[in-house]
Subunit: 395 residues, 2 copies
C-alpha cells in the first residue's frame, strides 16, 4: 500500500502554521535584519558562565547528571526553583515541576485538562505558539476582548458564564504580541473570577524580569484563594532558550497530573540543563545578569520607539514597559502580510499580526521584536520599513 | 469554588501507574540492590568526556547553542545522526528528527497518528512506559502473541485484518521486558505485512548496540518498501539517559507531522545536549565506549544467569543475547507482586511482570535488570531472591 494513503490524527486538521515556519526561516537568512522571532540578544547569552558551570557540574556530579532522573525534577534544582518561584509569585507555592521550556508547561497543562471540544479562553491577539498547542488538543478557543490594561473583566466573566471553559490562558506582563501589561486590579479580579467559576488559569509570565520602566506588579497567582491559578515561567529570556528549562507551579493535584503526563512524554527534563540553571540561581548570578540584559534591551526598545515616532501618519504603536516586542497598527487599508514580501526583499523581517489572532483578520497589524537586533540594525531596518510603508501608502 | 471540583481530561481515566512509581522510588533507597529500572551502570556513563565536550562546545559555539534552535534539530547533529542511523538501519533514511529520548519519539508518533479509539498492535508483554504513552492517547491496545523468536506473523496478520490498526509497536532487539530478539525472517515478514495492510510500524530499537553474543540482525526498516516503518532510537543506553537525546527516522511525511507536533510540545531539543552527542559521533568515541560497556554488561548478565541456574525447580528464565533484562517465570502459584514486599524488606527490588502485560495477569513473572548492579550485588541480591522464593514455595 502506498504511504499516501496514511491518515494522520484529526488534531492536525486545523493546523496550518506553514506561513509562520517560513517567516522564522527568514531569521537565519544572512544579512536579514530580523524583527521577527523572540530571540534574546547574543550579548544576553551567558556562554562563558555556562561553559564553566557545565564542566564543573559534570566533573563534580557527572554520574548523577548523566543517569536517569526523576520526572519531578533534579532535586537540587527543585529546591532552588521553589525559592525563585516563591519570590517571583509573591506567595507560597505548593508544587513546582521543571519542564523543557514554558511551551512544555502549556502542553502538559492541556494534556492534564483538555478533551476535544473543551473551551479555552484566550487573549486576542495572543502567543501563536501556544495557540497552536491548544489547537492540537482540539480545544475550542474563545477570544476575550482587552484594552490597554489587558483583559476586560466584564467580558471575561461573560465568557466564563457562557462557555464553561476549562482554562484561561493569559500573559499578564509585557504580553506577546502586544507588549501590554495587565493592571494589578485586573489581576486580582481574574483570580476572583477563576475561583468563582472554577476555571484553571495558565498565568504565563516569561517576560516578567525584563522590566525597563515602572514597578513589578503582583502575580495573578498571589490573589488565588483555592489553587485554580497555575504559574508558568521560563529561563529562556533571562538565561538561555537553547537550554529549554522552564517550570509550572501551582496546586499539587494539578502538578501531579502534569507530572504523570510528562512521564509518558519525555520521562524527565535533562539533568545537566536543570543543574546549569540551578547554579545560576544558587550562585545568585541572575540579578546582575538581568540588570545588564535590561540595560541593553531598554536602549534597543527606545531606538525602535524613536524610529516609530516618525512613521507615516496613521501608524499606531504601543510603548511597552518591558519585554521583547512592540505592536504596531499600520494606517487603515495597508496589509502587513502582503507588505512582508517587499520588506524581506530589502532584508527586513517581522511577523504579520494576523497570525496572533484566533480568527485571523486585523491585516494592518504587525509585531516587531527589538531584542535580537543591534541599535544600528534597528535604525537601518526601521528606516527601510518606513520607506516600504510610505510606498504602500503612495501606491 | 473548591479545587476538588476540577475535572481532568478523560485521557487519564485509564491511567494508574502509581504502583510503578512506588517501585522506582525503591531504586533510590540507600542499601537497596535494585534489579528494577533500566538504568545504565554508573561505570558506563562518560562523565569526563561529557565535561570536556560540554565546556569545549560552549566555549567554541556557545552563543549558537544557548540561542533558540530549529525544531528540526541542531544542524551539525542532524548531519552526524543521519550517518549513524543509516549505518544502524542498513538503508537510506529520508528524514531524521532529534528528540528528547525515544519516549518522546513514541509520544510524537502517537500525536501524529492516534485519535481516541484507534487500534495499536503491541507485543505482550511490552515496555510499560510506552504502553502508558499510548493509553494517554486513548488508543485501543491490541496484544499480539509471540514466541521465542518474537511476534508470530500469522497472529499479526490476523490482528491487522481484524482491527485495522494505525500502528504496530515493536521492540525487535533484546525486547523489554523479555530480552527476546525478533528473527531476521520475521523482521522481513513484519515489514511486508505493514506495507500490505498500511500500518505504521514503530520499530523501537534502543538496545541494538548492547549485544553480547551473536551477530546484529537487519532492521525491520531495511525491508520496508513504501515507507511505513519508523525507526526509533536513543543514546540513553550507550551515552547517557540523563541527557535525553534520541531520534525518530523514517519517511518525510511522517517525520514532518512529528516535527509539527514537537514545535507545540517543546519547540526543540536542547542544543547543548544535541551538540554533546554530536561530538561523540564525530570523534568516533562510540565504538570503543560500546565495547567497554558490553564487556561489563556481559559479565553482569552471566553472573545473574549463573545464579538463576540454581533457583528452585519450576523457575524458568530466558537467556538474552544482549540488552539489560532477564525475564523470569516463577514456579506456578507464586505471585511476584506479593513477593516484592518480602524481597524489598531484605533490600532487593525488581519489577513484577504483570505491569508489562496489556491486561495484567501473569502474576508469576518478573523482570530483572542486571546493568545497574555490580557483580557482587548480583550474587548477593540473587541469593536473597532465591531464599525468598524458596520460602514462598515452603509456605
Amino acid at each position: 500500500m502506498k504511504l499516501e494513503s496514511i491518515s494522520f490524527a484529526h488534531r492536525f486538521d486545523s493546523i496550518t502554521g506553514s506561513a509562520i515556519r517560513e517567516i522564522f526561516k527568514l531569521i537565519a537568512v544572512p544579512g536579514m535584519i530580523s524583527f521577527a522571532g523572540g530571540n534574546p540578544s547574543p550579548a544576553a547569552l551567558p556562554d562563558e558562565e555556562a561553559a564553566e558551570i557545565a564542566a564543573e557540574q559534570l566533573r563534580s556530579r557527572g554520574k548523577q547528571l548523566l543517569q536517569y532522573g526523576a520526572t519531578e525534577g533534579f532535586p537540587p534544582f527543585v529546591e532552588s526553583l521553589k525559592d525563585y518561584v516563591t519570590k517571583a509569585v509573591g506567595c507560597e507555592i505548593p508544587a513546582v515541576l521543571p519542564v523543557t521550556g514554558s511551551t512544555q508547561a502549556m502542553d502538559l497543562l492541556c494534556k492534564a485538562l483538555i478533551d476535544p471540544g473543551d473551551a479555552i479562553l484566550v487573549e486576542n491577539p495572543s502567543f501563536l505558539g501556544n495557540l497552536q498547542c491548544m489547537r492540537l488538543y482540539q480545544a475550542k478557543l474563545i477570544p476575550v476582548d482587552s484594552d490597554a490594561e489587558g483583559l476586560l473583566p466584564d467580558a471575561l466573566e461573560e465568557a466564563m458564564r457562557t462557555h464553561h471553559p476549562k482554562l484561561l490562558y493569559v500573559i499578564p506582563t509585557f504580553q506577546n504580541p502586544t507588549g501590554r501589561t495587565l493592571s494589578a486590579e485586573r489581576r486580582r479580579r481574574i483570580a476572583e473570577l477563576a475561583n468563582e467559576y472554577g476555571v484553571v488559569v495558565a498565568e504565563d509570565d516569561p517576560y516578567r524580569d525584563l522590566r525597563y520602566d515602572g514597578e513589578a506588579l503582583p502575580s495573578i497567582k498571589s490573589f488565588d484563594a483555592e489553587g485554580w491559578v497555575c504559574f508558568l515561567g521560563s529561563f529562556s529570556k533571562i538565561i538561555s532558550p537553547g537550554l529549554r528549562v522552564g517550570f509550572i507551579a501551582g496546586d499539587s493535584s494539578i502538578i501531579r497530573k502534569c507530572t504523570m503526563g510528562k512521564q509518558s512524554t519525555d520521562v524527565h527534563t535533562a539533568n545537566l540543563n536543570q543543574a546549569i540553571v540551578d547554579q545560576f540561581l544558587r550562585r545568585n548570578l541572575l540579578p546582575e545578569h538581568i540588570r545588564t540584559i535590561c540595560a541593553g534591551y531598554r536602549a534597543q526598545r527606545d531606538a525602535m520607539l524613536e524610529e516609530l515616532a516618525s512613521f507615516p501618519e496613521g501608524t499606531r504603536f504601543y510603548r511597552p514597559d518591558g519585554g521583547l516586542f512592540i505592536w504596531c497598527e499600520l494606517p487603515a487599508g495597508l496589509n502587513a502580510l502582503n507588505m512582508l514580501q517587499k520588506a524581506v526583499q530589502r532584508s527586513v523581517a517581522y511577523v504579520p499580526g494576523t497570525h496572533f489572532y484566533v480568527d485571523g483578520g486585523h491585516d494592518n497589524t504587525l509585531r516587531l521584536n527589538f531584542s535580537n537586533s543591534t541599535i544600528e540594525q534597528i535604525h537601518t531596518g526601521m528606516a527601510i520599513l518606513r520607506e516600504v510603508i510610505a510606498e504602500e501608502l503612495g501606491a
